[in-house]
Symmetry: C2
Subunit: 180 residues, 2 copies
């Protein structure tokens, strides 16, 4: 049975304490989604696959009439997670950004429209930075209390990357304003 990155992501989230599929998705939405997006529709089939493979064990965790399942990593599951963490591969990063793609072709635009585009992208970067500071960093910091440090570190990296982009766009904006 072939494990994909999403499999390891889910395995890791369960290891971190996310019990239900819903909880896994919620946790991913404020953390891993920025470097590995995953939809809820992926989670449930993948949980089933992981259980079939004996990497997760599932138990009933309904309260009242609401159905819920609680997942736990098996020893085999913990082993698989550690093995993946130490393995090479997946070197190729993939990035998709229609905004930057537009900017790449911006020579075809009149000066004023170039400036407008740069401003929009800068605004977007600023919002991303804000969101990271207000939502992502705090939720990651909270995990430090239970001895989980890397999410906070990576949230920090995310903030710095946004800052880097925003500064670059600020410089571009400045240049374009001068030319106008």
């Amino acid at each position: 049975m072939k494990l994909r990155p999403a499999s390891h992501l889910i395995l890791g989230m369960v290891q971190m304490g996310a019990r239900s599929g819903y909880a896994i998705k919620k946790a991913a939405d404020v953390s891993t989604r920025f470097f590995w997006p995953m939809s809820l529709a992926q989670v449930y089939p993948e949980l089933a696959r992981l259980e079939d493979a004996g990497l997760l064990s599932r138990s009933d965790d309904s309260h009242g009439n609401r159905a819920r399942f609680a997942y736990q990593p098996t020893e085999k599951g913990e082993e698989a997670l550690r093995k993946w963490l130490s393995s090479p591969g997946g070197e190729e990063t993939q990035f998709r950004d229609e905004g930057i793609l537009r900017l790449f072709f911006a020579d075809n635009l009149p000066r004023q429209d170039q400036l407008a585009l740069a401003r929009r992208l800068r605004e977007r970067a600023r919002e991303g930075l804000d969101y990271t500071r207000k939502e992502i960093i705090p939720s990651a910091e909270a995990l430090k209390d239970v001895g989980i440090d890397y999410p906070a570190r990576i949230a920090q990296l995310r903030a710095e990357t946004y800052q880097c982009t925003e500064q670059w766009l600020a410089r571009l904006e400045g240049e374009l304003e001068q030319q106008a």
Copy 2:
């Protein structure tokens, strides 16, 4: 007919002077692929779609026995490109990086393996920066001679982002070395 980002990418590349499908792919490989990946198998059907929609015109450009087609944007095509460049949308950027995903779960690893992972990722960042400086920036700089400035700007952004990441990983490496 619906235009996707890849359609606009191809339209833009043709506008920039890439004549054949092959040339479009080659140009994309040293520029746009870093923020909008595209395979050769996408190019040919998309060129056909754009021609059908009247945004590109195609003419025979064989030399000798080797078949080749030369594409040119129609007025409608140029118009569509400008319209897209000024339009909003595509705000959501998407990033996939299995390396960072691993690092996110690195709390599950013994110190030494954490350090090894950090070093690998740093090495990767350094290679990416090197490649950007040696290959991407020079090919983008060359375009300035024909009045196309943005590719060089964006190559610069790419270099700065790598630097930012590399510095962050260097700090992490330092912290981990101290703890060991």
